[in-house]
Symmetry: C2
Amino acid sequence: MPKKIAVLAGDGIGPEIVAEAIKVLSFLNTDMNLGLVFENALIGGAAYDAFGTPLPQTTLNLCKNADAVLLGAVGGPKWEPLAHAIRPERGLLGIRSELNLFSNLRPAILYPQLVDASTLKPEVVSGLDLMIVRELTGGIYFGQPRGVHVAENGEKVGINTKIYSESEIRRIAHSAFKIAQKRHKKLCSVDKANVLEVTELWRSVMTEVGKDYPDVQLSHMYVDNAAMQLVRAPKQFDVIVTSNMFGDILSDIAAMLTGSIGMLPSASLDANAKGMYEPIHGSAPDIAGQGIANPLATILSVAMMLRYTFNQPEAAERIERAVNSALDSKVRTADIYSEGMTKVSTSGMGDAVLNAL
Amino acid sequence: MPKKIAVLAGDGIGPEIVAEAIKVLSFLNTDMNLGLVFENALIGGAAYDAFGTPLPQTTLNLCKNADAVLLGAVGGPKWEPLAHAIRPERGLLGIRSELNLFSNLRPAILYPQLVDASTLKPEVVSGLDLMIVRELTGGIYFGQPRGVHVAENGEKVGINTKIYSESEIRRIAHSAFKIAQKRHKKLCSVDKANVLEVTELWRSVMTEVGKDYPDVQLSHMYVDNAAMQLVRAPKQFDVIVTSNMFGDILSDIAAMLTGSIGMLPSASLDANAKGMYEPIHGSAPDIAGQGIANPLATILSVAMMLRYTFNQPEAAERIERAVNSALDSKVRTADIYSEGMTKVSTSGMGDAVLNAL
Ligand SMILES: CC(C)[C@H](C(=O)O)[C@@H](O)C(=O)O
Ligand SMILES: CC(C)[C@H](C(=O)O)[C@@H](O)C(=O)O
């Protein structure tokens, strides 16, 4: 049976970078007889422009019936005036929620070729390889009540609710502990348990689940300290697990440590390893259409797809090795360019990976 | 009339670092005839141990009747098993709230002598001088409903509420714009308006208040991007204004850019510039009692007190110049030590500042 991939290019640089990832993946599909079929659909601002909604039912159905989703990016200033419920971002959040993709894996790996691109000193970041596990379908992103209302005294009041149940925390805990088991067996759970009761529950469930994984060393850290430690000594971390909002922030810091957010892939998985794969960077409207975006985060997201959803570790490694070879050959998109390298376009980088496959 | 300072040393390294700040301040008090009187009280874990509450009524009364509060730090593992409502942190949060200290100023300045102590490359951080204005008495830190309850299905659910009214946003906006006017006239408001309605209200009120300050250039940034930009190119910022929780995280990142969180002071002000002054670092229980903590953040907090509450800019500058001279003389506490420097104790650093006054 063919395996179906829903391809949602989205907005801004989305279409450009997804095109390169599909180029790489379709080559492997033939070469390794993977049996993958692709189907495109609109999401985000592009879907709003065409259908008046950022997540058309047809797109959602396609994703539900697919084995995996490849997403570019959504959003841009064009749609910022829109009401919240129809913003491009709601398309992305809608898929995450409707598909139950509660476990978001965001690896931050510094390629040795890119040590100079990091703003941190080489001794602080070289060899960096950490994994952030972000809860993706709960917390303040989805909690009710939410919205802006007018209070009795006539002034507007804005509300969002950070809410987690034990079972929501438990399932992301199990994801994180399992990942830590396959890595260096160190898990740091990040919360703000000294101030927020919801994260105190988070901490106690993490501790409880930890008893099932005696081989993993669990520690806890407050989010402000964790943000600071990522800048101070990021190599102290192996796996970090945290809530939706904190994970959003911490993963962008971790990304930046590796030199460019343009390098970092992500996987968002449900309980059965069905998943959505996307670069962790956004739609970068300022550079869209110029052919200068870095496609490597999306190409590496495809590698994660092959590994996690399609159980094709060999194909995944081929892509990762090819990315490494491309970097070895000194081609660089603008975001990771440094002196002595060869500057290439988005498709030039895609070709470099393709040639190295 | 004498001006009263409530001195709350608190827990961990609190007493050690506050002692150095008082040493410096009492010298100036005599030397410049400032008319300050000091009165000590317990807060946090120390208060809990003595009275069963982290914020005794006597301490609160003292603070209310004082012109300014000098605080060390609160908390430690010893008190972590306590219920939320009686944790040391609640003492600190209680004063912030009861005294209406809504405007928290957290400057991040990299001293040229400490460029090597930063984990970031010198070209990225040298000359760094930014100010974070954190809303301190609202948002998810104080929003109701909060707590952990048992749902109908028997599982525990944790809840905290991020809530801001227009007037709460408006007053912190005015604080921030006024500060930006005295600096480089650039204000970046940080929110997550693409996901959280409460921060969409935040953004619109910021924009509205901005009309009163046409000389200040206002920009908006999502919090994940702001965290990343602080690591990528921190010198792009002049003043950042943000909510309580985001400010907690971003100010710790900014602190780390300057080499050590042990260097950074803060001021928490009400509408009349009455204020609490404290280092932004915590109680560091792991090094408490060893006499190795860096007292400079607390000493610099006293300088902020002289400037903001007592309108004594000259005295403030004397302290700041003395800190600079101490650093020039190459004395360093452990956190900012690098090769070729002279390692000193907490009181050694206090003495170095005193001698340079
Ligand atoms: C686009 C936005 C809704 C999204 C998020 O906040 O989750 C993005 O920042 C991310 O990290 O994937
Ligand atoms: C100790 C804690 C309650 C406090 C906070 O989160 O506000 C601290 O981290 C700070 O930044 O002042």
